[in-house]
Amino acid sequence: SARTPGPPARRVAPAAAGAAMNCRAEVLEVSVEARQVEEAALAVLHTVLLHRSTGKFHYKKEGTYSIGTVGTHDVDCDFIDFAYVRVSSEELDRALRKAVGEFKDALRGSGSDGVGQISLEFYQKKKSRWPFSDECIPWELWTIKVNVVNLATEQERQICREKVGEKLCEKIINIVEVMNRHEYLPKMPTQSEVDNVFDTSLKDVQPYLYKISYQITDSLGASVTTTMRRLIKDTLAL
């Protein structure tokens, strides 16, 4: 389409697009049985959030702050031969389980051929002046593409347990590689800006601002986008 002359129009960045500059995007694919969907997704999401959560900030005078302590918790999967580490925060765990539960239900629902993806996006808020609403600028996007398989025999299921476990090990290694490239991270904010960078609503840990959304591909191949807004209270105008 022809470009109209004049200054480029300003656009509010779409929430789950990940199209803004400097947004790192990583995609992980897994093929799992239906009963493994939740654990696989949780393993990946928790591993990412382990790296993207800090202790609670406590701001002191003169612009200094100290950071609380993040504990960790080992999780054994029931349906996968796999174990992972998550942050010790029941609130965070609940939030992720809720999101993943909805994703799993949507995958199971009618119209789904068992293919979908769940995304974890980290974003920063940028205050805009009235009447514009705040911008959400994503800076990292993790997408887990899930392909649900149906297995007939118990032997196949047992093999699947092990195979999915091995695959998830690879995914964890991939995640760690990305994390340790030390690419862009939002600057540490001042006290007034902290809510634009971090989610400060949890009482024990402080992840970067994030949102989880998912998409299910229905059997016709069209994608039905269900975007979930932040699971935790938010002050977004939208």
């Binding site: 200094t64 950071i67 993040v70 504990g71 960790t72 340790n180």
Partner: protein
């Protein structure tokens, strides 16, 4: 032109590297003990958790790691390795993993030490936590028991394996690479022959030394006996248990360098450390309690151990002579034993027994199954600086006389303002005695430790020396009176001997 590190940055960096190395060893070892780890997040900074992560410090592990490091730091050309191997009850062993902490020469001169480096080290530790669960050794260690145990060796200055890339050839479908990882350290580790008894919790005492300083004899397996002098003995390392209280500045980057880690060393001598000293731990399960480590009772009693003659003989032959066997563990202050179960440790998770189990596995043994009250010690010896300030921590005896409180950490410096807010060193307790107010003495920069003489104990012991008898008024008056009375007699004696005195004086001329 290289911008050299400021001395403060250098000190900070050394500290980070040191504690990073220690925490790395803790994470790896704990991940191979066979139990799930569970530590609690804490929103208020306690100043005790390095890298803002709740990683428990098993004292034996810290001790052995420090011994292996022997006051040195991982640096370019000096790496630290943790070897994980599996040993079956038949005596076969297989190396499973080697975790290497190394440094290469590639420098990043621009990076901010007390901010960026610290945060990235924290991220790296999180990655280590994640990765230690995905290698096959994790599942093996979770299932260790009858048939095999997982052994861990910490080696400093390990030469380990070196890789050489022979070459590569690119093709349309991929790049062919040919490389070789070859072992440099060619000394054997002798395998022990287990008798047909189930593996026991405890330490396998066979190890060899990889001396960084070449001695006249080539490297050889070396079995240590208790009390044996093992060649080059290095002076005791003054080792500080240091606090990490981090305070970051949100000012613009140019001012970031002004925010410093405030850490206060409590001067504690850990004891002599042998350089290049590899140490071996075994974590395992007993036959009597498969899949369940013997947990010490909550009263802090010594866990029962099966008597296994095989290990008895082994223990006789070889023993790691370490100070651990001796003085350190006897240092638990009396009041701490009551508090073993209640010592505040924010990293205590809900997993309950794993904590105890972890400690039990790490019992260091002298001879067969001598078991120090490790659980007491380890709980009392939580590496929590300012533990004196924690609410449930060891309280000094109430009959401590009043002392001048040490400088409270809450001084005007913003850095120290980030210290644990409970760090006030005075809290008035009951007795008021005339002008005096009794306070609990909590010396700054001190904390509970396994050593007998920590700062607090030192103060307590020596803060009230007895009055000099000559200075005490009553006694002084008495003796003065006596002196006066005896003066005439003394004068008479001296006069009698005046000739001798004169003669003596003349000899001096």
């Amino acid at each position: 032109m290289d911008t050299d590190l400021s001395s403060q940055d250098r000190k900070d960096l050394d500290k980070f590297i040191k504690f990073f190395a220690l925490k790395t060893v803790q994470v790896i070892v704990q991940a191979r003990l066979g139990e799930k780890i569970c530590t609690r997040s804490s929103s208020s900074p306690t100043g005790s958790d390095w890298f803002n992560l709740a990683i428990k410090d098993i004292p034996e592990v810290t001790h052995e790691a420090k011994k292996a490091l022997a006051g040195q730091l991982p640096a370019v050309g000096r790496s630290m390795c943790v070897e994980i191997s599996l040993k079956t009850s038949e005596g076969d062993s297989m190396e499973l993993e080697i975790w290497c902490l190394e440094m290469n020469e590639k420098c990043d001169k621009e990076i901010k030490v007390s901010y960026t480096v610290y945060n990235r080290l924290s991220l790296l530790l999180k990655s280590l936590l994640a990765i230690t669960r995905v290698t096959p050794a994790y599942r093996l260690s979770r299932k260790q028991g009858h048939e095999y145990v997982i052994l861990l060796i910490i080696i400093f200055n390990c030469i380990g394996f070196q890789t050489v890339r022979v070459g590569t050839v690119g093709t349309p479908v991929g790049t062919i690479t040919l490389s070789c990882a070859y072992r440099i350290n060619l000394a054997f580790m002798s395998t022990r022959q287990f008798e047909r008894t189930p593996p026991i919790m405890g330490i396998i005492i066979d190890h060899f030394v990889d001396r960084p300083y070449p001695s006249s004899s080539p490297m050889h397996p070396c079995n240590y006996r208790a009390g044996e002098d093992n060649g080059a003995v290095y002076p005791s390392v003054e080792d500080s248990q240091e606090v990490c209280t981090t305070s970051f500045s949100t000012s613009p980057p140019s001012q970031l360098s002004s925010s410093r880690l405030s850490y206060q060393p409590a001067a504690l001598a850990v004891g002599s450390a042998d350089v290049g000293y590899p140490v071996l731990f075994a974590g395992g399960l007993t036959a009597a309690h498969p899949h369940q480590l013997i947990a010490p009772g909550k009263e802090g009693g010594v866990p029962p151990l099966p008597s296994q003659p095989a290990h008895g003989t082994q223990a006789d032959q070889e023993r790691i002579c370490t100070p651990l066997d001796g003085a350190h563990y006897s240092a638990v202050t009396p009041s701490s034993s009551e508090d073993t179960e209640t010592v505040s440790n924010s990293s205590e998770g809900k997993c309950g027994s794993p904590h105890d189990l972890l400690e039990t596995v790490f019992v260091r043994k002298v001879g067969a199954f001598v078991n120090k009250p490790i659980n007491q010690v380890t709980m009392a010896n939580l590496d929590i600086p300012f533990a004196m300030f924690a609410p449930k921590n060891v309280e000094l005896e109430d009959n401590d006389p009043m002392v001048n409180p040490p400088d409270s950490p809450e001084t005007e410096s913003p850095l120290q303002g980030s210290l644990h807010s409970e760090g006030s060193s005075g809290s008035s307790t009951g007795n008021t005695h005339d002008d005096f107010v009794m306070i609990d003495f909590k010396p700054a920069f001190s904390k509970d430790d396994i050593l007998p003489m920590d700062l607090g104990t030192f103060y307590r012991e020596f803060q009230n020396p007895p009055q000099l008898s000559s200075l005490s008024i009553d006694i002084g008056a008495q003796s003065m009176a006596e002196d006066l009375d005896s003066l005439p007699e003394k004068l008479a004696v001296h006069e009698k001997n005046v000739k001798e005195f004169d003669a003596f004086v003349e000899t001096l001329q």
